[in-house]
């Protein structure tokens, strides 16, 4: 059992780690809620790209045709990425840029993969979901914003550990789930905080930890580009720059011939961070529950359409990709989304009640922490 002194220390840790991060965690929970249902919300807002049903064996349009059409819509731009969603191979999302190494002024065109008809221009930097996503990922502050939220996530994990340690001294005299509603609001909310905190503990820890991992995503990708990608494209160092990339369809076909049972996740055009100035970077994914989350990079010479290298992703990117569904909750169908949302709302109650308990305690006599920390236990006698 913890000594009074130890309880006081843990309580100090719990109070301050959570106080610092609570406002941001509330923001993340509130903005995360619509993100769980981003497809459904896009559907309601009419911003979701919808492709018509066609027989499964309808022939596919050539990717070169898809590109030609996308470029026609935005003259002066060039290809940056072409991607497909995991569960919908009827649409190609073509991202266009001014220069492949810059994220400014990006445009996107959705093209039907069968008919080669344009389906719409998904806005990349406006709209409700864009605001939610930006607040959730980086507070509109780019990499520093991501890392800041990641640091807040670390504090959250400290708060979860210290909160778990404190669960025992606070619950010593109570049955599981007991909420003393006949006492002061403070006692009632303390009990609710403990109850809801302990039932969501594992979920909140997993979502928090995978969120922290995600905050490092950009840096992990940069490290991978500086090490493995640099090695893969080293033989092309010093070659004159490519005037015009060759056939995209040829590059994708070559990559798929290497792994016929895989699907295209995205293709990076020459000059982006996911390729080289001389290569298309074709990123394939598997088709079963686990492998669909992982990516296999294939580098294809953009002039000749020949595969020049393909490697497995390093462990840290594999870990990142595997951790993502555990953060998004997008892997178990609609019931999982609903559970994710309910857990998210319960978490908001835990955060808000924690904040309330702190405010109430401060308003009461500024007595030593130890006395107050045991008050809850005593009150149950």
């Amino acid at each position: 059992m913890l000594s009074t002194r130890a309880v006081r220390r843990w309580q100090w840790v719990h109070t301050w780690s959570s106080l610092v991060c609570t406002v941001f965690m509330l923001l993340l929970c509130l903005t995360g809620l619509p993100l769980i249902f981003h497809h459904e919300i896009g559907h309601l807002l009419g911003t979701e790209i919808e492709a018509a049903e066609m027989p499964a064996d309808t022939p596919r349009a050539s990717l070169d045709e898809v590109m030609r059409l996308a470029l026609q819509r935005y003259p002066g731009k060039q290809g940056m990425f072409v991607s497909q969603e995991e569960d919908d191979d009827r649409v190609w999302y073509v991202t266009l840029c001014e220069r492949p190494d810059s994220n400014d002024n990006l445009k996107q065109v959705a093209v039907d993969a069968r008919s080669g008809q344009a389906l719409g221009d998904p806005p990349l930097d406006s709209g409700f979901m864009y605001v939610m996503r930006s607040l959730h990922i980086d507070l509109f502050a780019g990499l520093p914003g991501m890392l800041f939220l990641g640091a807040m996530g670390v504090l959250l994990l400290v708060a979860l550990v210290s909160g778990t340690v404190l669960y025992a001294p606070f619950m010593r005299k109570l049955r599981f789930g007991e909420v003393r509603r006949d006492r002061s609001p403070r006692v009632k909310w303390l009990d609710l905080h403990n109850l809801l905190g302990i039932v969501t503990l594992v979920w909140f820890t997993v979502v928090g930890a995978t969120g922290v991992i995600n905050a490092w995503a950009d840096l992990l990708v940069k490290y991978w580009q500086a090490t493995e990608v640099a090695q893969m494209v080293a033989p092309y160092q010093g070659q004159p720059p490519l005037q015009q990339p060759g056939s995209l369809q040829a590059a994708v076909s070559a990559a798929r011939a290497l792994a016929p049972d895989m699907k295209v996740a995205f293709v990076a055009f020459p000059g982006t961070g996911f390729s080289s100035p001389h290569h298309y970077g074709v990123f394939l994914r598997g088709t079963d529950a686990v492998s669909a989350r992982l990516l296999k990079p294939v580098l294809v010479d953009a002039a000749t359409g020949q595969v020049t290298d393909s490697r497995e992703l390093p462990w840290y990117l594999t870990a990142l990709l595997i951790s993502q569904p555990l953060h998004f909750g997008d892997y178990g169908g609609r019931p999982m989304q609903i559970l994710w949302a309910v857990l998210d709302i319960i978490t908001i109650v835990v955060l808000a009640s924690g904040l309330y308990l702190w405010v109430v305690r401060r308003r009461q006599a500024p007595a030593p922490d130890a006395k107050l920390s045991m008050q809850a236990g005593e009150a149950a006698r």
């Binding site: 025992a168 010593r172 789930g177 809801l196 079963d288 555990l326 019931p335 999982m336 319960i346």
Partner: protein, 52 residues
């Protein structure tokens, strides 16, 4: 400390963990296990939290 203070928290935490992993590993029955694993702790929280 009462010995069974941690019994239900550990049970609910384990269910959550099994649920989270099960959904990752496969579809169909795996997903059903995931719904159950996450659903029981949620139900427990709502039951004890909302009852009068």
């Amino acid at each position: 400390m009462r010995r069974h203070l941690w019994r239900l928290p550990i049970l609910l935490g384990s269910l959550t963990a099994v649920g989270l992993l099960s959904g990752l590993l496969g579809d169909g029955a795996w997903d059903a296990v995931a719904w159950l694993g996450l659903g029981v702790p949620v139900a427990a929280g709502l039951w004890y939290g909302l009852r009068r």
